[in-house]
Structures are given as C-alpha cells and as structure tokens.
C-alpha cells in the first residue's frame, strides 16, 4: 500500500509536469535565475574574503625611520618593536638596502636614478603581524603608538585597503541577500502560479477525488511535492551553471594572470554544505509557494 501510495505520488507529479509545460519551465527557470544571482554574489564575496584574508596575513606594517639614527638607537628601537604583542617578526632594511631593492624593481629604468646624489630613501623596519591582531582597529592602534616613538618618521600599513575591501564585501553581501531575497520571493509567486494552474488543469480530477472521499493530504501532497521539486531542481540547475561559470572564470584568469591566480587556494567554490542549503532553500520556497496555492484553491 505504501508502495502504491508512492507510485500514485510519482505518477501524479509526472502528469503535472507534462501538463504544466511552460509553466513548469517558468517556475524552474525563475528559481534558477534567483539562485544563480544569489550564488554569484555568494561566490564573489566568499573568494574576496579569502583573498583579503590572505593579503592581510602577508601584509607588513612598515616603520620608516629618520635619517641619522645611531646604531644604539636602532637597537633600542628594535627592542621597542619586539615588545609589541602584535609583532611577530621584525626585519631591518637599511637606506642602501632600500635603494638596492628599488633599483631592482626599476630594472631597465635604472638610468632614472643616475642624477641622484643622496639616497632619498629612508631606512625602515618591516613588521609581520600576528594573525589575531590583523584587524583594522588593532593595526590603527599599533600604527598610532609607533608613530609617537622617537626616531620614527612615519608608519604605513594596509588598513585603508583592507577596510575598503571589507566594506565592499559587506555591501556585496547585503546586496546579494536583498537581490536574492527579492528574486526568491518572485520565484515563490511564480511557482504558486504554476501550481495554481496545475490545480485548475486538474480541477475535474480533484473534484472527483474529493467527492469519493480523498483526504486533503492525498490531493495536496502531489501538488506540494511538485512545487518542492521545481524549487529544488531550479536551485540545483543554478548550482550547475554557477560551477560552469566558476570554472570558466578561473580558466580565464589562469591564462591571463598566471602569477596571481595559479595558486590553487585562490579560487574556491561553494562548500557542499552551502550547496545543500541552497537546494534545500529552493525546495522549501517551492513547497511553500505550492502550499499557498493549494490552500487557496482547494476545498475539501
């Protein structure tokens, strides 16, 4: 009997799918678009967050020094920096080292430096920061306190960039949620309409079943499951397209900018958990949409 019940569900759903025609295509399509857009935002923010976290980790705070610090003074300064809890590693770069590095960066255009008599570049300490201090606030505080130390000319750090990127990611997240939400609600209405049409198309059959003693659940379940399936299928389809887009993008970036993007951890697709949640939310929205339709258009 259970098997027959299952068969009944399946055959009813198939009939609805077949009869639904463009309506079914429309509702699956609506879910696909909604989840594709949401997925693109998710994927972008995810990868940007990862990239920013990596940059932040690599980032060094640079403490530029006044010219003419005595070696004793430098030792003192170094001790002062070592004392900072946030600092993991301190490297000294002398004026001549700085100039040599600069020459190396300029490569073919070394002639530009020929006119220079004095070395204009300051000596500096380059600091690596412990992970837990790599927040905008902590870095700002560190920079402010180091700036006040005698012999220090200026302190540079990536706060502005990191803050700006973090801000952009936040905005993208919110945008993604809002747009995804709007599209999600739209798909809900579209699936509700598709199911409503399915109810109309099968009005006679439903009427007969009702009058010979079918329960509400018996009539409604296939319709609700159908909406659930449409929502889930739409979301799954979106994930498939998203993955294809993702691979294509990686490939594009990989050929044009191999040095930056060839590292395998640069790109990351949505985790399996996220994927399941997306399909689940699609199914849920589809189910809710059809439940609404079925509740409104079916009487017992």
């Amino acid at each position: 009997m259970l098997w027959e019940r299952f068969q009944h569900l399946l055959s009813e759903m198939l009939i609805n799918f077949r009869r639904g025609g463009w309506g079914v295509v429309a509702s699956i399509g609506a879910f696909t678009v909604a989840f594709l857009v949401t997925g693109i935002f998710l994927l972008l923010t995810l990868n940007l967050s990862i990239a920013v976290a990596q940059w932040a980790e690599d980032f060094q705070v640079v403490v530029f020094l006044h010219d003419g610090n005595t070696p004793d003074k430098l030792t003192l300064l170094r001790k002062r920096l070592d004392k900072e809890l946030a600092v993991r590693e301190v490297t000294y770069v002398s004026k001549s080292q700085a100039l040599a590095d600069f020459r190396k960066q300029l490569r073919d255009q070394e002639s530009l430096l020929e006119g220079l008599k004095d070395n204009p570049l300051p000596a500096s300490f380059q600091l690596r920061i412990h992970k837990k201090y790599q927040t905008a606030d902590a870095l700002r505080q560190l920079a402010a306190s180091l700036k006040r130390v005698e012999g220090v000319e200026d302190v540079l750090y990536g706060q502005e960039w990191i803050e700006r990127l973090t801000g952009i990611i936040q905005v993208m997240k919110i945008l993604g949620i809002v747009i995804g939400g709007v599209l999600g609600v739209t798909s809900l209405f579209i699936v509700a309409n598709t199911i409503r049409l399915a109810v109309y198309a099968r009005a006679e059959e439903i009427e007969i079943m009702r009058l010979v003693g079918a329960t509400r659940a018996y009539i409604q379940l296939p319709l609700i499951l159908e909406g659930t399936l449409q929502g889930g299928a739409g979301a799954a389809l979106a994930l498939g397209i998203l993955y294809a887009l993702y691979r294509a993008t990686l490939w594009q970036l990989g050929t044009s900018a191999p040095t930056i993007f060839s590292e395998p951890e640069m790109g990351q697709f949505l985790e399996a958990g996220y994927q399941m949640i997306m399909v689940g939310v699609g199914a849920l929205l589809g189910g809710v949409g059809s439940l609404v339709a079925v509740r409104r258009f079916l009487r017992i």
Binding site: M1, E4, H8, E204, E205, E207, I208, M209, L211, V212, G213, A214, T215, R216, Y218, I300
Partner: protein
C-alpha cells in the same frame, strides 16, 4: 439510513433550492426523488454527500450527523457512499479502466485487488471489452454504466444516483434501472433522482416528489 429534518437550502441571492424537507429513507430501500428540472434534486443529493451544508435543519446519514462531521471524518464518511453524478464526471484524458483505478486508489484498495474488482464491475455493467477505451468514444448509455461501475467500487452502503438515465432512450433507461435494482437487492440503499415520472411508475417503487424545493407528494 438517511434522515432529514426540516432541511432548507438557500443559495446566495435568495435562491431557495430546498424548503423544509423532512424525509426518511430506510436501510435497504430503493427510493426515487422525482421532480422537474430545478426542483432541487441535485441539491438534496449533495447535502446527503455532505458536499454542501444546509442553511437550516438536520441531516443524519448512516447514523452520522453530517453537518457536524469534522474535516478528518469527512473523507472516510464519503468512502462509505457511492455516487453517480448527473454529469458523469468521467475523465476524458484516460481510459475507462484508469477512471475506475483513480477512485480505487482514493478508496485505498490495493492494486492487486482493485484489478480484479474493476474487471468484475465492468463485466457486471457489460463493458469489459471497452475497458481500455477513452470514455468520450463511448455512447451516453455506456458512459452512464461506467459511472455506475465506478460508484460501486466502494461497496457502498448507500448509492446516490443523480439522473442516471439522463437522455437515454426508454429501453436503455430501464436496463440501467434494473442494474441499480440488482445492486439494491444485494443490500445497498439506493436513492435515484430523476425528472422522469414514467420511470417511477414503471419501476413501482416509493417516490418522493419535489417541486420548487418542497416535498409535495409521496408515492405510494
């Protein structure tokens, strides 16, 4: 078996379909509901099936107060009845067999059993060889008999037949009536709505005469 006490049904815009109906159908009885078009026959049957509720009055079917029937008790209640609808309500997108199968499933009859039962019922109404045809290829009388076979799937305690001889010629109409009488002999209470007084007199059964929503006469 079926009792109605001062039942009235008023549709919106003061359409008084039934007025102060009191009747009693005994267990195992074969009763006609006779009256001209618009007299309220279909409305009365729909109230018995609890497809609708009366504006006032009480209805007992199989000892149940159908007006007060809870939603979860309604489907099981309906499954004890058999209905032949005035418009047949046969689905034209599937075969005769599948029309019956749909109802068998609703009734919770396992496929292995319903296969035999559908075969037996179609044999009984003389339509076994048309089991795999679509109903619209059948004649009116044949469609009528499909509707009867379908109504009998539930082994109903009460069979409600709404104009089961519709536009059939008199001979065919009598055939159908004999079929229903057979069902009645096997213990099912049968209520037949018809606008045809000749049928009533030929069958010689009790008849309740409806006019403008009122019970005006009882034969005999």
């Amino acid at each position: 078996m079926i009792q109605m006490f001062q039942v009235s049904k008023v549709y919106p815009k003061h359409v008084e379909a039934l007025l102060d109906i009191t009747l009693h159908v005994q267990k195992g009885e074969f009763v006609f509901l006779c009256g001209p078009s618009g007299a309220g026959k279909t409305t009365l049957l729909r109230l018995m099936l609890r497809d609708d509720i009366p504006t006032s009055g009480q209805i007992l079917v199989n000892g149940r107060n159908v007006i007060r029937l809870r939603e979860n008790k309604l489907p099981p209640f309906r499954r004890t009845l058999g209905v032949i609808f005035q418009d047949f309500k046969l689905l034209m997108d599937r075969t005769v067999y599948d029309n019956l199968h749909l109802v068998a499933r609703v009734l919770g009859i396992p496929d292995t059993i319903s296969r035999r039962k559908i075969g037996r019922l179609l044999t009984e109404v003389g339509l076994l060889q048309k089991a795999h045809q679509i109903p619209y290829m059948l004649s009116g009388g044949e469609q009528q008999r499909v509707a009867i076979a379908r109504a009998l799937l539930s082994d109903p305690t009460i069979l409600l037949a709404d104009e089961p001889t519709g536009n059939l010629d008199p001979d065919l109409a009598l055939d159908i009536m004999r079929l229903l009488a057979d069902v009645n002999v096997r213990g099912t209470t049968v209520v037949v709505a018809t606008h045809n007084p000749r049928l009533v007199s030929e069958m010689g059964r009790r008849a309740l005469i409806l006019k403008h929503g009122r019970l005006v006469e009882e034969i005999p």
